[in-house]
Homo-oligomer: 523 residues x 2
């Protein structure tokens, strides 16, 4: 009940009884929480309450780990306690967590990490020489030759050099400067750090941050924490979630009435929407940013996750340079990458980097200072990032196995992307754009008016009602579209394509059966 | 020059020419930075400048990695380039980074970590069974049995259980609930997360945060980031840096004129001051917090670092419970621990935990939500934390070696603490309180009036001038007391006792010689 009460007060309704749950709350969905806490017997009032806490933190929402995931945890506990359900396991398709879904780590990456962790293994004949070479190089760049020392706040020097070399290769020779590379605690850390520096002003000069709708809710959460203004631009669902510059223009024009739009965030390949933006689109966006004086944030953590044969990943950095010096020496751009996605899926290590170009030199000092307060990103995560950007090359002992493992993961994901799109589009009332990249499907679902009414009666958003029902009837945990944003009156959910092929087929079949029954029930 | 300009504008003066450096800046020390950036040739104005950036971030200062450390880096590069100096290496005694100073990792800890990283090693006969047992337990609690999966936002369940069991043992049976344990990215992350939730209000109702002076500058930096009010209480240098409740009372009384004092931070054992607070003192502080309705933050990351035979570490949690239910069920307390200090010194893994008790249940939901936005702390750091709280026990294969390594580190630190105190106190014009705990000396140094004048001429704080001179003449890098706060007119520096014994003796001798020469020069 305490948890339920907490959910209610932060604007998420707990599940209600009957078909959907075991508890009912009569609190209004968005009711302001202004009641005074009464001291309980033998208890004094708490200092920290919903009334006294930081209101910006209270306003934060993060759907990917929100109420539906708490519910999934409760159901798992019930299953463990032997409570009978129409299913035997919860399938967590809510989060891009590949290894939790059974994907095996890349052997070479873990070998290097183990060697760095316990350097006695450098004498072991069971590790390949190229892994030892990588490990020695990383350790030599660490204080005391140990992953246990703090690194420089910006990250280990030689790893930043490897990142810069990787970017240069990736972008066909466009130069990258290690001094512009900052290693981070996952991409989230980099994104929130850059936004933290960018946000300023009060009243009508508060910083406006343009984010796509649908978006990855880290952005809205950080904007809320920082008390900045979220400026939505809508992706074009009818056009495979393309980004249209006219829509950006509309968003900026309207925003200027009440804030100072200063930052433009793009997620490419898209999360949750899975599109891969065309080169032309990126060029248009860069020109728009130049014109409107916007600081660009390019979230490119899915740069290795492109499946559609008609699509290629184009980095903002590369396109910027190809547009000529007027752009490449002027547009401020931060781009982000991570160890968590791609083919490696090393989420737990919290590795990532950002490249920030055209930053004012005075701001660089400010950025390093801000990073130094948290000392440094995890050095093990930095080492993991190094292996991602500096993998085995032809002629090295581990090259063949590494390539086989990498291709296997990416090939499977491509097959699953196609399978998911095809199967969803066979279900009446579900429409799914092609999964060109990333690791999610974001299908649009038709929710009949009677189901919308039922959701309202349960004080839930219709898509939350849909996803809660899906979870309770099938054990499949997906995230309602309202957690990412969607055009009013449309409903979606985000589902990862990470379960192994056979399990994914089962998941898709179960979603289909559920959906058909749902339509019948609320016809 | 760009870096120098950046330093000037954030209130830190770069080194000046002549005896102390190669560059001179004529900018006023705290000159407001309001000039307009002029577009350079072919360049447009930057969007993100010192004028437009987040002013709260601009106000942040973090001395432990501040200008003196940047200078140390420059000198290292000069040495590498063959430039002659009166010394051959820079000794970084500015930061508590044990392994960078040559301390070896605890073997058992790294064995478990290597097994978790590369589980193929679980079949290797060269790893002890107790390490394998720990690794299997951790992996079984991870998604997909891998360190590469995200954990729950609050941390891996079984590690939180181990932390709770550790606290219960440490506190002689006082119960600890795994549900109150939150694993963090080092202690800094926990401290800033709790402060972030606590801060609210505007004008005279802005949250006041009481911190000791001297303090660890993470606190002042986070308070600045969050736009809260820093309320200083002074530790009693004449009385071995004791914390006097009358001084707390004064600080709160005066603060109430301009803010709402709501949080009290204590660092015990002290950083930078190295004292270990008495049980009586802690009891007084808790009673004061109860009386004044303050949320307590107990930074106890040096709980294993107590050297003085007359001192013992008393946790706030334990004392709170021993004071009876009126306190133990009412006072809100967050206490912090870390893998970075103690005998293990695993800074790079960014492991830590906090225990938060008497938190309002609604706030618990808010805290988990806030943590979930950053997904989870590094799982490798969580695993490192597990080994710290769940070490080998008598009868286990690794117990003897583990104990030997642990005692060796702590024994060395105790000897170095005594050595440092004794040697500093032999130098005229230096007074050093006993180093009862932590890993720092914070001696008070006499700076003659002529040196104060010289510092003013160089636009430096006198102790910054002293420390810069020390660095440039001896290669020893320490942090000026002004970075931690000190009573006006007194000067200190913080130096770690982490260099190996023989090197530490050299360091102390060099500081002594420098100081004597400094006094002569400015007599």
């Amino acid at each position: 009940m305490q948890r339920a009460a907490a959910l209610v007060r932060r604007g998420c309704r707990p599940p209600t009884p009957g078909p959907l749950g075991r508890s009912r709350s009569s609190a209004a969905a968005e009711a302001p929480a202004v009641r005074k806490v009464r001291p309980e017997r033998g208890r004094r009032e708490r200092i920290l309450t919903l009334e006294s806490m930081n209101p910006q933190v209270k306003a934060v929402e993060y759907a990917v780990r929100g109420p539906i995931v708490l519910k999934a945890g409760e159901i798992e506990l019930e299953l463990q306690r032997g409570i009978k359900k129409p299913f035997t396991e919860v399938i967590r398709a809510n989060i891009g967590d590949a290894q939790a879904m059974g994907q095996q780590p890349i052997t070479f990456l873990r070998q290097v990490m183990a060697l760095c962790t316990y350097p006695n293994l450098l004498d072991s004949p069971s590790f390949p020489e190229d892994a030892k070479k990588r490990a020695r190089r990383i350790l030599q760049a660490c204080g005391g030759n140990s992953l246990g020392s703090y690194s420089a706040s910006q990250g280990v020097n030689c790893i930043r050099e490897d990142v810069a070399a990787y970017i240069t290769r990736r972008d066909g020779g466009v130069p990258a400067d290690p001094d512009n590379i900052y290693l981070t605690t996952g991409a989230s850390d980099g994104i929130s750090t850059i936004l933290k520096i960018l946000v300023s002003g009060g009243g009508k000069s508060r910083t406006g941050v343009l984010i796509s709708v649908p978006q990855y809710p880290l952005y809205s959460a950080v904007i809320s924490e920082l008390d900045a203004i979220q400026v939505n631009y809508y992706l074009d669902e009818e056009n495979c979630w393309a980004l249209n510059v006219n829509e950006l223009r509309r968003a900026v024009r309207e925003a200027k009435d009440h804030c100072d739009p200063k930052v433009l965030c793009i997620i490419n390949p898209g999360n949750p929407t899975g599109q891969v933006q065309s080169r032309k689109c990126i060029e248009d966006v860069i020109h728009f940013a130049w014109e409107e004086k916007l600081f660009l944030l390019a979230d490119e953590v899915y740069q290795d996750n492109v499946y559609s044969p008609d699509c290629r990943f184009h980095s903002f950095k590369k396109v910027l340079y190809e547009m000529g010096p007027e752009y490449s020496s002027n547009v401020e751009l931060a781009s982000f990458h991570s160890t968590s996605k791609g083919y490696m899926g090393e989420c737990g290590y919290r590795g990532g980097y950002m490249e920030v170009i055209n930053l004012h030199p005075e701001i660089k000092g400010q950025l390093v200072k801000l990073l130094s307060v948290r000392l440094c990103p995890p050095v093990s995560g930095q080492a993991a990032m190094d292996i991602v950007v500096n993998p085995p090359v032809p002629g090295e002992e581990s090259f063949e196995q590494f390539s086989r493992e990498k291709e296997s993961v990416l090939g499977d994901l491509a097959r699953k992307a196609k399978l998911t799109e095809d199967l969803f589009n066979q279900v009446p009332g579900i429409h799914c754009n092609p999964l060109q990249g990333s690791m999610y499907a974001f299908p649009r679902v038709f929710i009949p008016p009677k189901a919308v009414e039922a959701a309202q009666a349960h004080r839930m958003a219709p898509d939350m009602f849909y996803c809660m029902s899906l979870l309770e009837e099938t054990g499949i945990c997906v995230v309602p579209g309202s957690g990412f944003g969607q055009r009013e009156g449309t409903y979606h959910f985000r589902m990862t394509i990470l379960p192994p092929v056979e399990k994914l087929k089962t998941v898709l079949r179960k979603v289909k059966d559920f959906h058909v029954k749902f339509l019948e029930k609320y016809a």
